[in-house]
Amino acid sequence: MDINQYMGMFLEESREHLQALNSCLLDLENDPGNLTVLDEIFRSAHTIKGMSATMGFTTIAELTHEMENVLDLLRKGTLRANDDITDILFKCVDTLEQLVESVASNSDTAIEIKPLIAKLTAIAKGELPSVAEQHSAQTATTQETEASSGEPSDLDDMEINVVAAARKQGLECYEVQVSLRLGCLLKSARAYMVMNALEELGEVIKSVPTVEELEKENFDNTFQVSIVTSADAENIEAAVLSISEIEKVDVVPVIIPEITEKSAAVADIQAEKPIVSNLDNKVAIDKPAKQAASEHNDKKHKSGQSVRVDIDKLDSLLNLVGELVINKTRLEQIGLTHRLADLIETMEQMDRVTTDLQAVVMKVRMVPVGQVFNRFPRMVRDLSRELNKEINLIIQGEETELDRTVIDEIGDPLVHLLRNSIDHGIEHPAERQAKGKNPVGEVRLIARHEGNNVIIMVEDDGKGINADIIKQKAVDKGMITQAEADKLEPAEAVRLVFLAGFSTADTVTDVSGRGVGMDAVKTKIEELGGMVDVETKIDEGSRFKIRLPLTLAIIQALLVKVSEEIYAIPLGSIDSTINITSQDIKTIQNQEAILLRGQIIPIVRLAKVLNVSNTCQQNQEELFVVIVHIGENRAGIIVDTLIGQQEIVIKSMGKLLAGIKAIAGATILGNGQVALILDVGALKQ
């Protein structure tokens, strides 16, 4: 098997499961007894183990295996999760992340997992003080399993009866002891195969450890199965040995303890219904298998809801759809020139389909911002512990969608902002209490659409930013002069934090204060075509607001026509559209304006602003005006005709045409034509 071809899948899935582990562990920390969460954790760990073992990454498999041991104890209730345990589990996840990344980067850096494994085994053995209470119960169970494995199993009365009944029917009962090869990776799978093989030969009446345990790989390398069968010992041995990775099989006839008259009689009676008990046994065996299968199905189902696609493939899909649209337009033209009514009709339907297709393909690129957000709770938890602060992270609007490319880039700036808020913003609990605030600090991470932007805000209810200190620092560092500082408004002074080389922390901590953070944040966001701003109030908190344009994002827009071209006005900035006559336009100091519901609204003639020859506007009686809001103000835009509302995808016009006045970008209409998107804010000079 060529491992490399699965590498990408392995990495992606491992990362996903690690992410799941992280968030589930956080849940577990808050609710230590939650079994669903534990199951989830167990499943993720198990999947990682399976995958890494298959891929041959033994270190990962080893560590997850040890984790599983602990997790299983937690799940069974023999252990109860406490801070020590979750901490160690978190550390395991971190180490796993490192391991996965080192696999990804192909580096051979040795990552030490021994100490962690030692800790995990210690927990499993109940050696951590906090675990002592459950200690005895735990060792008891392990001892039991240890005792039972390797020695002939004892059959209980019921089973003895079954065996006795079987003997009467001429069937023999064997005990099959199976030893798996040392280092066998998929023990449960092997055990399952052995079970299957045996069930084909006869009825399995007992297994040690139980089938459930086998499914969970809760056994060493050996297990025993008791089987009632018509086949002889050699056949059984051959059947089991045909399964790979089986070291040794011992088939021994079961010696039933001397049957007393009475129990023989009982056996006689029961001989009437061996099938029933056999059935029972069968059910008992089938059930766990089915459970396992349904568990498996659940997993399948979850991952089945999404499909991993290389972004390049999406791009080429998008291009192909574009090509399709162009050819469709050509067909339409042919229909029109040759007046083929049938063709025109068909093309109208096709038009609808292709437009939908185009929209869907474009939407596929959009990813909920939650993909970035979901890694923050863990980070905040670690930070708050490190800094001895209590922090409650609130995340809102995770479902807000952004283009994949933006999602990939926005993570780092957000990390910086959150770290800053927690390190600089939120005070220590004692300080907060002294100020009469809730000792638990609150950090909010909010995403939402606003007009044709996506806003991401990082808010804290900490001490705020002191403008005077900022000014002083800036002067000290020689970034501005004292005179400049004196002139600065507090709000502007606070923005100095975005300057390169600025840091207010008196001491450089591990968390922040190296003076590169905010500067980097600003640069990155501007690279993405966005803006970042800060608002702050002393002792009430600060708010960092990132405004990302919807480059590549889908927006609703009103399409209008001016001269020959179609322009798109983002619906987010439109108040209403009205019809007026040229008499309605008044002039105030040579500035055209209209009166709308008692409000004076300045008028902008789009044709004039865009410098395109206008064809019919002058003598047109009825004028179409789109009322837009620019910040607090409103303006009316006169256009030639209104076409309609449509969902459009903003496309960049490339570096060559970046920064053109009044144009925010371009979009491609259903017919393949390019329409420009108006930057409403820039219309008013």
């Binding site: 291009n319 759809v321 574009g322 185009q358 060559l656 045409l657 053109i660």
Partner: protein, 154 residues
């Protein structure tokens, strides 16, 4: 063109016409050649920008190459083509009167532009190629796109 061998000293050119002159652009920069299609004007853009076109779902700026080189405009014909080139991550289309061929020229046969400055802006040229009795004006695509200089928004 009798030999098709390609040595390190030769470069391959896409040859196209502007008016009566023959121009060449290195084939490494050429992405594709399209027929003329609908072009949307962009207000406030430099005058040599014809507008933007739809290239399979992405928006592509199109340069009116004749305007850029100060050549007299002509009506579009059936031969008019858009050559799509890529320079430093920037994709752009150039309108040309006709695309004639792909040819190979030895670098020794290329004269630096300073020696033969004609009526057209020498900045936009990277040299003059001599091919038998033809002269090929080699475009400096970087300069055409204004890379390294501010794109003026009028």
């Amino acid at each position: 063109m009798s030999e098709l061998t390609y040595s390190g000293n030769e470069i391959q050119l896409v040859v196209f016409k502007l008016g009566r002159e023959e121009y060449g652009v290195t084939i490494l920069q050429v992405q594709e050649i399209k027929r003329i299609t609908e072009i949307t004007r962009v207000p406030h853009s430099p005058d040599y920008i014809k507008g933007v076109m739809n290239l399979r779902g992405s928006v592509l700026p199109v340069i009116d190459l004749k305007k850029r080189l100060n050549l007299p405009p002509e009506e579009y014909t059936d031969d008019t083509r858009i050559i799509i080139i890529k320079v430093e991550d920037i994709n752009v289309g150039m309108i040309v009167d006709a695309v004639s061929e792909v040819t190979t020229i030895d670098q020794n046969n290329i004269e630096p532009p300073q020696t033969v400055v004609g009526g057209i802006a020498a900045d936009y040229l990277s040299g003059i190629g001599k091919l038998e009795n033809r002269l090929l004006i080699l475009l400096n695509a970087d300069a055409i796109l204004g890379i390294g200089q501010e794109v003026k928004a009028s």
